[in-house]
């Protein structure tokens, strides 16, 4: 295993810059997730690191070896494709053995490793089958097996679970997490699925329009999003946003909707009539029984998921979504008073997080 250092990587197709001067590091044994919407450049970045795509500039170091001028096969990494990309004319055993064979491993060693890998991934009974005779989950497993069999320095995963159905995805997610723990592998994992990012990652790098928006542990990304993009992209249902302004009496959204932010903001912001964006996660909105309410409105829709209720509230022409316990006594059409849980406001100024 080894660390990965990416420095000043850029990539442009024609005139359009897809990746703009990116730098980051994945530590030895770290599970790092590149999270971003489709088209943000995350797959391109992964392919550049693998050597399948050429960067316009920058350096890539795996371990202590600079690899960006090497052919893919000399970079000592494994790539798990979104489409699995199994060799359709080879059996599962041959698919697994392929990389060892091409690299001239001894026959006995190949057999031993194929058996070991098959056992690890529960592919024992399928070794003689062709990829077309496998289910989606089994193909996924073979793709992972093909990657781990060689013990490469670095694993690259490109949305490996996106072709599986929801139940299988959850199962494979758990399996990948266990595999990472057991192998102690250095992994760079691309996904647009925040659930995968949150559950698998040691570190998340949020990418948008070819630039890094925030790097941090999952909890950090979730609880202290660095800007409006990260705040809106991570979390489901989406964070509630509203434009407001701050003055001596607090932060106002419209006329009546007031939040006490005296302890959250730096002094220079508190004084002026500074325009701000306020963000509140749905689970941080609670019913204000008697006390002061920030949001007064009417319940529009209640989505009952069994474990939670997503309550859509309209207040002074603005929509809010609150996540409530299933027993919350809210009916569509009823009046409701909400307040934000203490210290759970996210405040942004020209797109960036300010305050605590």
């Amino acid at each position: 295993m080894a660390s990965l250092t990416v420095q000043n990587i850029s990539k442009s197709f024609g005139q359009a810059g897809v990746i703009k001067n990116l730098s980051f590091e994945v530590r030895d044994g770290e599970f790092c997730v590149l999270l971003g919407p489709s088209g943000c450049g995350k797959t391109t970045l992964l392919r550049i690191i693998a050597g399948l795509e050429e960067a316009s500039g920058g350096t890539i170091v795996i371990g202590d070896r600079r690899v960006d001028t090497l052919a893919p096969r000399d970079r000592d990494l494994a790539f798990v494709f979104q489409t699995y990309a199994l060799y359709p004319h080879l059996t599962v055993a041959e698919n697994l053995a392929f990389t060892l064979e091409v690299r001239g491993a001894a026959r006995a060693e190949i057999r031993r490793r194929v058996d070991e890998t098959a056992k690890t991934l529960g592919l024992d009974g399928l070794l003689a089958r062709k990829p077309r005779e496998l289910s989606g989950g089994q193909r996924q497993r073979v793709a992972v097996g093909r990657a781990i069999i060689r013990h490469p320095k670095l694993f690259l995963f490109d949305e490996p679970l996106s072709n599986l159905d929801a139940a299988l995805r959850g199962e494979m997610r758990g399996e990948l997490a266990r595999l990472h723990k057991r192998l102690g592998a250095t992994i760079l994992y691309v996904t647009h699925d925040q659930a995968e990012a949150m559950t698998l990652a040691d570190k998340i790098i949020v990418l948008d329009r070819g630039a890094i928006q925030q790097t941090g542990a999952p909890a950090e990304i979730y609880h202290a999003p660095a800007n409006l993009f990260v705040a809106g992209f991570v979390g489901s249902p989406r964070m509630n946003f509203a434009e407001g302004a701050v003055n001596g009496a607090g932060l106002f959204i419209g006329e009546d909707c007031r939040f006490d932010v005296s302890e959250m903001l730096p002094d220079n912001v508190k004084r002026g009539d500074t325009p701000l964006t306020i963000g509140i996660r749905p689970e941080d909105l609670t019913i204000a029984a008697d006390g002061p309410a920030a949001i007064e409105g009417r319940v529009e829709i209640v989505e009952d998921l069994g474990s939670d209720k997503f309550v859509h509230v309209a207040s002074a022409g603005r929509g809010w979504v609150a996540r409530m316990a299933p027993e919350a006594p809210l009916k569509p059409g009823g009046a409701v008073r909400l307040r934000a849980a203490d210290g759970k406001l996210h405040i942004f100024h020209s797109g960036r997080r300010i305050g605590r």
Partner: protein, 270 residues
């Protein structure tokens, strides 16, 4: 109504195409008396005399050998060069490549008669008239564009990611081509090979002008020259034609499963 029309249409096309073939196959089995009978006899008495005569008296085996050598060499060279060219055309991106394919298509459309003169003069200058390389080179100039076109459509359909997986797994480009791309493109390669082979096997015009020496002549020319000054050996002609058709039928039947079946099923998603 529809279920009734389709088989009818299929049968009509089949009979229309196969009738001449059926006629000379039946004729080849007739006895000399049956062959000239009036009114014509349809059911032959399975007389093999014309086959023996075609082989013994008309040297049919020699023509078959010539045709086999010429067609096989044309096929091997066309497919070898065609596969590499098609691979490059589909995998590397440059603006002029698209035009190249179009030009190639135009080239393959040239009527043979238009280039017959120049081809003859070039081969004459090279001293390649009445030699195998001469006819093979001439055939390749027509079959190569065909092979490149067929193969590039097949290569285009192969998911590139499978190849990339091979590159990451440790292959050079050449290894990926040999171990992954070619086996997966096998249906396309067989299709192209059979079409090229059929073209070279059946070609008449170039063979007529380039191979004028009887020991070198190929089947179509050889058979066409069966008739003597005073006789037309209908029975031998029919028998020779039947034999000439056999390899093509055999090849097609042999490889039809490989041609039809898409080997790449199950590679991605699915």
């Amino acid at each position: 109504m529809k279920t009734f029309l389709l088989p009818l249409a299929v049968a009509a096309v089949g009979i229309y195409s196969l009738l001449p073939f059926l006629w000379f196959v039946l004729a080849s089995w007739k006895s000399p008396a049956q062959l000239t009978a009036i009114p014509p006899v349809i059911v032959p008495e399975f007389h093999w005399g014309f086959y023996r005569s075609a082989i013994v008296n008309y040297g049919l085996l020699g023509y078959i050998e010539n045709s086999a050598i010429v067609a096989a060499a044309t096929t091997v060279v066309s497919i070898a060069i065609g596969a590499l060219a098609a691979y490059a055309l589909t995998r590397f991106h440059a603006a002029w490549l698209r035009w190249y394919l179009l030009v190639l298509l135009c080239v393959s459309m040239f009527p043979q008669i238009a280039v017959a003169g120049p081809v003859w003069r070039i081969l004459d200058a090279l001293g390649w008239l009445n030699r195998y390389p001469g006819i093979i080179v001439a055939y390749i100039s027509f079959s190569l564009p065909l092979a490149i076109w067929i193969l590039s459509t097949f290569f285009k359909e192969l998911p590139y990611e499978i190849e990339e997986a091979a590159l990451v797994d440790g292959c050079t480009r050449a290894q990926a081509l040999r171990r992954i791309v070619l086996p997966l493109a096998a249906p396309g390669i067989f299709t192209a090979a059979i079409l090229v082979f059929i073209y070279a096997w059946n070609e008449f015009f170039f063979a007529l002008i380039i191979l004028t020496s009887p020991p070198l002549q190929t089947l179509p020319v050889g058979i066409a020259l069966f008739p003597g000054e005073y006789t037309i050996p209908w029975g031998e002609l029919a028998a020779a034609s039947a034999i000439a058709t056999l390899p093509l039928i055999a090849l097609t039947l042999l490889f039809q499963r490989r041609i039809v079946r898409g080997l790449s099923a199950g590679a991605v998603k699915g």
